[in-house]
Point group: C2
Chain length 226, copies 2
């Protein structure tokens, strides 16, 4: 971990674009950078939450230990903030964040973050907008989860990976079948079966972790119709 100059990295963040030189220096002095390898935990459910994290590069899963099983709430791709709700909303983390590929992250002390909100209205405005969008997305996810069956949910997540994470029709899945089950809220076996079915139908090609979306239109149809 090392202290960093935030003007060189955080300036890429929309929310930080309006911070003055002096504010950035304050941020820089209280900011430490860290690297996480695949599988490493960035912060942990039930631990005290005292930092906001700015993801510079990489991919992260947010997960909760529910009463029955682990559930992946969502994936977060850099650049973005991590842990604003869980750090600002309570003293204790309500979920964990785990890197699913090599990730670099900046830890911002919560008091510094709060001070930034206080002194910079444009910054706090951006944060508010992001929180609002997150809530709308979360509502959407919840509705899909309840009203679509596993087939549709899996299709939705594959399209999401393709369109928003890898920006390609082909990519290597960052999760194993069991984790994909946690993501679509199903069982490992069911996910396995559905992959086979989708492949048999010629909608996708799967070879281990490698996935190719062949018939995007039909996959979109499955995603919408359930």
């Amino acid at each position: 971990m090392k202290s960093v100059s935030c003007s060189s990295c955080l300036l890429k963040s929309e929310a930080v674009v309006n911070l003055a030189e002096q504010e950035l220096n304050v941020l820089g002095r209280s900011c430490v950078e860290a690297v996480f390898e695949k599988g490493e935990t960035i912060f942990k459910q039930d631990a005290l939450s005292s930092n906001i994290i700015y993801l510079q590069t990489g991919l992260v899963k947010l997960l909760v230990k529910g009463p029955q099983r682990i559930q992946i709430l969502r994936l977060k791709k850099a650049p973005c903030y991590l842990g604003i709700p869980t750090t600002m909303g309570d003293k204790i983390n309500h979920y964990s964040a785990v890197a699913i590929e090599r990730t670099t992250a900046c830890f911002i002390d919560i008091n510094v973050f709060k001070e930034l909100i206080r002194v910079n209205p444009d910054f706090s405005y951006e944060i508010i907008i992001e929180l609002c969008r997150n809530e709308l997305e979360q509502f959407n996810r919840c509705v899909k989860l309840v009203q679509n069956q596993v087939f549709g949910r899996l299709a939705t997540h594959l399209l999401d990976l393709s369109a928003h994470i890898y920006l390609s029709d082909q990519f290597d899945l960052p999760l194993n079948r069991s984790e994909i089950a946690d993501l679509v809220c199903s069982s490992r076996e069911t996910v396995s079966r559905l992959f086979s079915d989708l492949a048999k139908e010629g909608i996708i090609k799967v070879d281990g972790k490698h996935l190719e979306i062949v018939d995007k239109l039909r996959l979109q149809n499955i995603s919408e119709k359930g």
Copy 2:
């Protein structure tokens, strides 16, 4: 609808306690009060969103038309804000708000709301905290929804009505069986059966809309264990 003095009502809101006299006057001039009877829509999914609503009194359900059915996202009890995510997060409402008892509400123009955020850091801080708590609550709801079976979800919602809405072990249900099904994401028939079962077990007493929680401990147990 009439123009109102916000210092007499909004001051009750934690988030507004720090607004200056002048800011309150700005708010007052652009603020209109309205009364909604049970069943009336306050704002509608897919309509343009241009107001933040401050609920002064009453009870409201937020609902989405999903692909298969209607789903009640959550209940909101006055005093609280309504529609911040859907108004700030997008131009179009992602859900509807419907009064489920007589409700009075103040409509605040979005530009006035944005201006308040800009000029008053304490106000925007309060809003950020509320949004963060909402997101954590929403994650919780989602996890329960997926991992508990209907029995547990129904128990959770009954306890929630008792503890957070009516502050009593006895109350009149503000929703019919079909709406309760929308809330716990189940079917009317299943809710009906579960009410009967809970009553047979002596955990609750039901008479039409009137509900009494008799054995709170067992109900809590059902709520947690699924």
